[in-house]
Symmetry: D2
């Protein structure tokens, strides 16, 4: 941590900063410059809260050199984390894991149709929401517990793993009974009560990036889960808020190499929310894999024009098949392969 | 709602859109244009979900004319909502309500000191967090229940009303025992479980705008609370995420006249989080009141350089006094007045 | 400047950084920390280009402590710059300078009407564009030289000073024949050829903040003008690009205290472009003055529904009168006064 | 165009809107809805300026259905534009055109080294700036005319085509003597004087997206060039301003499929400016090609740690070779190929 003093600060103000750093148990190293003095704080393990220093007279700004997260960082654990899933699947290694399905569970028939469709095209995990966070209280809010039971049935029937969202502690416990991966959605990325609960879940957690979260904030939210004892976190880029309304979000694929540089955790990409338009999902799915994504989360609906939510960004079954074909070629071009659904590989 | 068809769409695609609108129970009005046909959907009460239509062949985009919120809108209730608080105070009328205090409750002594300080300068409500949402799991997380007890003590001692944050359903129940106004923080603006719980609270709710929430999303989150039966919602502008790191957030004061145009709910402003720098709090507090804010939420700490959180943006007591003086003059210049603390007015 | 080395960087990489800093003519001060070493570069006068260092092996990031601008900074010149204008007017001192008028010069009659209207309500400067930068090549592009002649006529007739925009070097020379203040628009804030030309103009320059310019970039663009020898720069906040389409731009009033802290140059605010909606101009004009703006730039049109550009954000004459009345009260509340038009004061 | 009236607007206000639309020469079609009336304007050819209507009493907002650009749109010209370059090269067809080289021309030796390096790895076009737009007036501003002469020499020596930037009309004329493609940089995307000049250039123009330009604004700026008679425009995505400082810009790869949907013009991607970090250039170059980019613009420097500008984002020669190898594989995976430099193919 570096404390930058204002131009022309009296020596006593600099001395006070030095004294307070000592009082906090760290070493202060003043560094007089041509325009101003800066004071280095040495010994920071990432937990120093600079706001106390920021308040002192003469202090112009605090510059953080040490990252505030620990366990999620690649400096803490250099080798990439590979998360093992049932059926011999994994995420974070050579395989690219494709999770696909409708936005919401709407009926048993719909989810079984969707499951069969995505499995046939080669997806390994079924995605669909039973609890739906919707901007409007008047929009369809999901089938809840009944939806979870339908997902369990789809799992039985097809062998697909299940990823589905939890919105609060109570729902999380219900989701854990059914899901192989628990999703925490973008709107709840900084719902710390939920994160702590997920940290005690014992199952992998798919943590989506918040709508305007920096990568550092995403990693800090993951740190909440690891700090509670659960190291199985899969990060997910799903677009951030941008100024151009031509897409639903601004899909930030750079997040993939950035996260791979800073953290050992795997990161997947969601081109459906990332773009909001069916026509853009396939090119952006290809791009995500080319950028190094460890997996994809894609909305596919047997009949998108009948969908109760997110119809416009759901792929038609035949579009999804094409996406899978093209994605496989891209994965191979960079020395990876798309994971095959359990049972097919045998 | 307006459905814009692509240039050169065949008539049968237009007919299908018309048919599906009819099937949904609304009236379709096709409008052939020079470049393309648009189809108006008439009879929308704000609850039509356009995504089903967006998925149809030939549809280029859906344009929403009707606002998706209802009860929060000024069209639903033209007169401004005045929320009555204990001790004859109110928010949303002529008075400008000042809520001030430290970021966190740190000790009984600190909160009592802070309470006396802000009351003396003229604040009517004490703000301070017992439950603190922090980006890092290693930062101070608040005193929890013990902090709430200290707030109750400060209320007794000074007569100040209390506003404090709840982060989950369980915490909300605890906060309700002590607080006059329950705060839902920016990070939880779209925590729908919490919003629904707050909708059953029976006390006023201060709902802060999310870090990158549009005004429409803020109003929709308020709608969740009203839809559950609680009409006492105070909105709060606290800065949104911007691209310039010179301030902590981008304080969007335009939100004040925008909200006053679209909704009957009161809106207050938080220049402490809005700017993140003590030196900017007073000018921006003045600006907020000049823009028409119904109140202010301001961080004041007896000794900011000892604060456990947000020290850099907390005012020193003497700065707060000056802010109050200047704010009173601004309020008078636009025909309002700053509310006085209960007991003083008698 | 601080060079942050990666965790575990070998000593030879650190030594190379130290050697190159010495080669560049500065002093290097290595500072080993608990997680990583940082190397301070001492003696920076704001002109060191860090990108060369950023490229060295082992370097994680470069942190700039010294500001890259000089002459515009308050450290360079502590007292605020007061720019003297004809007729005894000034900007940057106690007076708040109101510049008002239509978006474009449309005809002699329109501009004379507008000039009389804004003068009567108390504006001191007439604003109107003869050269109009428009997003579309098919939109009205301004009357050019003929428009400048009409502005000269309005000046003669009313005694109002003139501010009008130049878009290129050739146009700037024409504008200089007529205008008292030359405007460089938001889209040209980083048109360095134009900035250099304005730096040799010998008249005050009103420099608008670019659509997504940081304050530092705005100050650097002003530095281009000062570096060429023209110290008369008036900065202007006019809204930046935001994610919410409810307003045309995100009006960043915090820029006012930020600029006043970092620079000695005056800064004015443009609530018309800042909001894009006539109904929001008056509250935001009040807010800008309350925040400390040294002036206002406001669009007023005799008949907005006949305007060839920006009709929706132009005030009706009676709205402008009300804005002036309210703005005067706000200015007085903070110990300033609105400048009166030349001739009236005599 | 759709004019949305406020809830409860009196009939006379609606009638006035209808009358004014008729006066403007278009057909008005009022459409009473459940919450409010909307009035459709029929016959819009993309040139109607709605601001006049926006100013009328009772009008709530104007919704644009028709796109404001014409000649750049795919509706105007359905087949993709293929721009022919000297030596049988082209952009916009099956080939992916790689343009590479240092940020700036620094010396004849440097540019010849760089040219040989990038040609050997397979680039077809040499990029390097002789005129450099720099945020600070104290940064290296380029070698100007002397730099252009060195580029001409590199062209002669290696057969590589040249792309280089012009910052004003005068510089554009000089650039045209040497370059095969003229670049207009991000900061000048809305420098309309320069765009018009480029519209009369007779050579292909590479138009970079502005720092916070929407796709529509990018297309409108291209329209300026086409409207002056030059149909040879290559668009370029180079990152937009985002809120996360971990990358230099937010690289918006979705722009590629979006532009391909809306326009017939080719679009290339610049992963160097898009990310600002050498380590991220290769994965994002792969991603851009996977997303469908028609070419790449990449910074490569023989010795990045000696570069006078942009050292941190310049690839080392061996990194560029690897990037080319991987990019070729990605191009093949989607049925395209990387263009080979002229002369090699024979």
């Amino acid at each position: 941590m570096l404390i930058v003093m204002r131009h022309g600060t009296p020596q006593e103000d600099i001395d006070r900063v030095v004294a307070i750093i000592a009082e906090m148990g760290y070493v202060a190293r003043p560094m007089p410059g041509r325009q101003r003095t800066t004071v280095g704080l040495v010994g920071n393990d990432g937990r120093v809260d600079g706001s106390r220093l920021e308040a002192l007279p003469g202090v112009q700004e605090i510059i953080h050199v040490t990252k505030p997260y620990k366990q999620v960082s690649r400096e803490w654990k250099p080798e990439s984390t590979i998360i093992r899933l049932p059926g011999g699947l994994s995420v974070g290694g050579d395989e690219v894991l494709v999770m696909a399905g409708p936005c919401s569970v709407e009926s048993e028939r719909q989810i079984l149709d969707a499951a069969r469709t995505v499995r046939e095209a080669g997806a390994a995990v079924l995605r669909a929401g039973a609890f739906k966070p919707r901007s409007s209280p008047y929009s369809f809010q999901g089938l809840g517990r009944a939806g979870l039971r339908m997902l369990a049935r789809a799992r039985e029937e097809t062998g697909l793993l299940i990823v589905t969202e939890a919105m609060d502690a109570e729902g999380l416990d219900q989701v854990l009974e059914v899901a192989d991966i628990v999703q925490i959605g973008a709107r709840n990325m900084q719902n710390y009560s939920l994160l702590k609960h997920a940290g005690r879940a014992g199952k992998p957690v798919l943590l989506k990036r918040g709508l305007s979260a920096t990568i550092q904030e995403l990693l800090l939210s993951a740190e909440y889960i690891l700090a509670e004892g659960n190291p199985q976190v899969i990060l997910c880029e799903r677009g951030v808020r941008g100024f151009d309304t031509v897409t639903r979000n601004l899909f930030d694929l750079s997040a993939i190499p950035v996260v791979h540089g800073l953290s050992h955790l795997p990161i997947v990409a969601d081109p459906s929310h990332g773009t909001g338009h069916r026509d853009m999902v396939t090119p952006m799915a290809r791009a995500a894999v080319a950028a190094g994504a460890d997996g994809l989360l894609v909305e596919v609906h047997p009949t998108p024009d009948r969908a109760l939510s997110d119809g416009a960004q759901s792929l038609y079954p035949e579009q999804f098949e094409r996406m899978m074909r093209e994605t496989r070629l891209i994965a191979e071009a960079i020395g990876r392969r798309v994971a095959e659904p359990v049972g097919v590989r045998a």
